[in-house]
């Protein structure tokens, strides 16, 4: 990192602790059966980090297979449309499977192979993580099963087809609402049964320790590249950085380098956009940070949409990737400490932003990413017409054509 961006010692951001706690959030709350596997995973991850041949293999795949770095694009027509001075788009929509989770799946599958696992499983909501896992399994010759809710199978049919083409088995989960949370539970259950030969490739910055740390470790390349690209273009530090938050992997990927490497007085405002669904005043949303209370779900302690008895509530969002009642533990910590601000964006606002990006820049984003884009008019009102904002475009919209057509876009 360039000298001016190095933090002073007291500013260094150093979560989580050795037990995987970010402040009070995170930890490991899972059945004993999988505890030894998590310990083994933590060790394998440490070994991999210490091993130069691992990072060489990863870097080569990221450059030659994924095509990184992803571009940083200055979207001037969009900026003038929303009333900002500059809008930077980090083009994660250009990753081959359509989202940056491919970095994470390659990062996890390499050590999985070294651990001698021949089979991988994953949960998926929007199908992006499922496609990325299936892609990586094909690349590395691993057997692959993807757990996906039946409602998500319906609304993300294109991705289901892709996973099957890539040789993965798609396991339909009809429990609950048939969405992401149900798929995670089913994958965890299955993992308990097959822990000896199966590696669980978790798709977001959620789950028991060490998953949130591992996911951040691989996704942080997004923010590292963005900082380097801004410097190379001679651009100023942006006034704000925005990402959508489902479980929180793309968001932590772009935020973390700004938290770790940029001193607080030069750090942009960091803003996470959750799903407000049909509105925060309804119970049809996925805004765990804005409307939830801390609790344990899927093996970690974090803000959670839950009822009086501690049962997880059903989340809702037009976007399958943000339709989750919890959120990664690091985001809960970042919310409480004020290091990141979280706001919620409705289905309607996301659809408008989706249409706007398509018309002004010729880029069709994922409906998840459209939640981050929908923050731009709000930030323009807050920061003024000269301000510059960096947006993580976390995926592309091919998978969402049916959804936006049903919602009346492009009429």
């Amino acid at each position: 990192m360039p000298g001016s961006l190095l933090p002073s010692a007291e500013e260094a951001y150093s979560s989580p602790d050795a037990q995987g706690f970010f402040g009070p959030y995170g930890g490991t709350f899972v059945p004993e059966t999988v505890m030894p596997a998590l310990e083994e995973l933590a060790r394998a991850f440490e070994d991999a980090q210490a091993d130069a041949s691992f990072s060489a293999e990863l870097d080569a795949l990221l450059a030659d297979y994924v095509g990184r770095p992803s571009p940083l694009y200055q979207a001037d027509r969009l900026a003038s449309e929303v009333g900002l001075g500059t809008v930077w788009l980090k083009r994660e929509d250009l990753n081959p499977p359509g989202a940056p989770t491919i970095i994470n799946t390659i990062g996890q599958c390499l050590p999985a192979k070294r651990m001698g696992k021949r089979r991988v499983i994953a949960e998926t909501g929007a199908g992006q993580h499922g496609v990325a896992t299936a892609t990586t399994a094909a690349l590395m010759g691993l057997e692959c099963s993807i757990f996906m809710g039946t409602e998500d199978i319906r609304r993300q049919a294109l991705n289901v087809y892709k996973m099957r083409l890539l040789g993965a088995e798609v396991v339909p989960i009809s429990d609950g609402t048939g969405t992401l949370a149900d798929a995670v539970t089913a994958a965890l259950r299955h993992w308990v049964e097959r822990v000896e030969d199966t590696f669980y490739v978790l798709g977001s910055a959620v789950g028991p320790h060490p998953y949130p740390l591992i996911v951040r470790h691989f996704q942080k390349v997004i923010g590292e590249e963005a900082i380097a690209q801004l410097r190379a273009k001679g651009a100023d530090m942006p006034d704000a950085v925005v990402a959508c938050v489902g479980g929180g992997s793309n968001a932590i990927g772009i935020f973390y380098p700004f938290l770790r490497d940029v001193p607080a007085d030069r750090r942009p405002l960091l803003v996470g956009a959750e799903a407000a669904g049909l509105g925060l005043e309804t119970d049809k949303h996925g805004a765990a940070l804005t409307k939830g209370t801390p609790g344990v779900l899927h093996g970690f302690y974090s803000y959670l949409l839950q009822d009086e008895a501690g049962n997880p509530k059903e989340a809702y969002s037009i976007s399958a990737g943000l339709d989750y009642p919890g959120v990664g533990p690091e985001h809960s910590y970042l919310k409480d400490t004020g290091l990141v601000r979280y706001e919620a964006v409705t289905d309607r606002e996301a659809l408008d932003a989706f249409a706007l990006l398509a018309r002004t820049e010729g880029i069709i984003p994922a409906i998840e990413s459209a939640h981050a884009l929908a923050m731009l008019p709000r930030l323009a009102a807050e920061l003024g017409p000269e301000a510059s904002v960096l947006v993580n475009v976390s995926g592309r919209g091919d998978k969402d054509m049916d959804i936006v057509r049903e919602a009346g876009l492009g009429g």
């Binding site: 037990q19 930890g27 490991t28 709350f29 899972v30 059945p31 004993e32 059966t33 999988v34 505890m35 030894p36 596997a37 310990e39 429990d175 949370a181 539970t185 965890l188 259950r189 308990v192 049964e193 097959r194 822990v195 000896e196 609790g295 344990v296 779900l297 899927h298 093996g299 959670l304 839950q306 009822d307 009086e308 008895a309 501690g310 049962n311 997880p312």
Partner: protein
């Protein structure tokens, strides 16, 4: 906080404590039968009748399941029962389950078997660990099993739950260090998970059970009870030959809507379990 002094992870842990109601259930000179039922399923009155039937059928210990919306350690029978109980008008959760336990104890009087709650961690946290423990003590509950609370995550609960036993689960995958730590932190008994995977009936007993029981015996004097997958009296008898206790869940919950069927099934299980035995026979042997 006074409760802090009660943290039981030290070397002088559970073994040094006074015998609890739970350990007493294992000290009748025969293997103990532990019967799991889901509170509030299929409806609260029927679940109470089935609980009474299980006690009268010969259960030495009742494991009372708390309905929870994300039962990650449970197979379809128990998960479905939890879903039905949770979905009741007004909800049925931890507080209702504790109240049900109090009702069971007053229905059965002095001869009531001890009750251990099987609850996931989040309902405990939602109620507040100290408040949950207080309410359980008030209802005469003897202890808890928390399947998603591994031993390293248990400190806050152990600090808040004096007077209640906490039973930890040991799995076939547990390393020697983990077995030692979880046995040390356990009180009442140690729950030996017979197989990888979730609760549910299985055709045959998993191969590794005998070995896991032996590994546990090497690190603890607490009773060892085996659960997960035991579905018939003959499987129960097989387990009773090698462990101090036999836990039957899904096979009972499947019958729970019919208290008479519960009574008949538990009676058959009790005969099978009490009649076999790794434990010493209760009647003195002729010299």
């Amino acid at each position: 906080m006074a409760a802090e002094q009660q943290v039981r992870l030290g070397a002088d842990g559970a073994g040094a404590r006074a015998a609890s109601a739970i350990s007493a259930a294992f000290q009748r000179g025969r293997p103990a039968l532990i019967v799991y039922l889901m509170a509030g399923y299929p409806d609260p009155p029927t679940s109470l009748t089935s609980l009474v039937a299980a006690a009268e059928g010969g259960a030495d210990l009742i494991e009372l399941g708390v309905p929870y919306g994300d039962p990650v350690a449970d197979g379809p029978v128990i998960a479905d029962a939890a879903r039905v109980a949770c979905a009741r008008e007004g909800g049925f959760g931890l507080t209702e389950t504790i109240d049900l336990a109090a009702k069971l104890r007053s229905a059965l009087g002095a001869g009531a078997p001890p009750i251990v709650l099987m609850t996931y961690l989040n309902p405990l946290m939602r109620l507040g660990l100290a408040a949950a423990a207080e309410r359980m003590r008030g209802a005469g509950i003897a202890g808890v099993i928390v399947p998603d609370m591994p031993v390293e995550a248990a400190r806050p609960w152990l600090a808040a739950s004096h007077g209640l036993d906490t039973v930890f689960l040991a799995a076939p995958t547990s390393t020697p260090e983990r077995l030692q730590a979880l046995a040390k932190a356990s009180s009442g008994f140690v729950y030996c998970v017979s197989t990888l995977g979730v609760t549910g009936e299985r055709d045959r007993l998993a191969d590794g059970v005998r070995e896991l029981v032996a590994r546990l015996r090497a690190v603890t004097d607490l009773p060892v009870a085996v659960g997960f997958g035991i579905s018939t009296p003959s499987q129960a008898a097989e387990v009773a030959d090698l462990a101090d206790g036999v836990i039957v869940g899904s096979a009972v919950v499947r019958r729970q809507a019919d208290p008479e069927a519960v009574h008949a099934f538990v009676t058959a299980l009790a005969e099978a379990v009490h009649g076999s035995g790794s434990a010493l026979p209760s009647a003195p042997q002729a010299p």
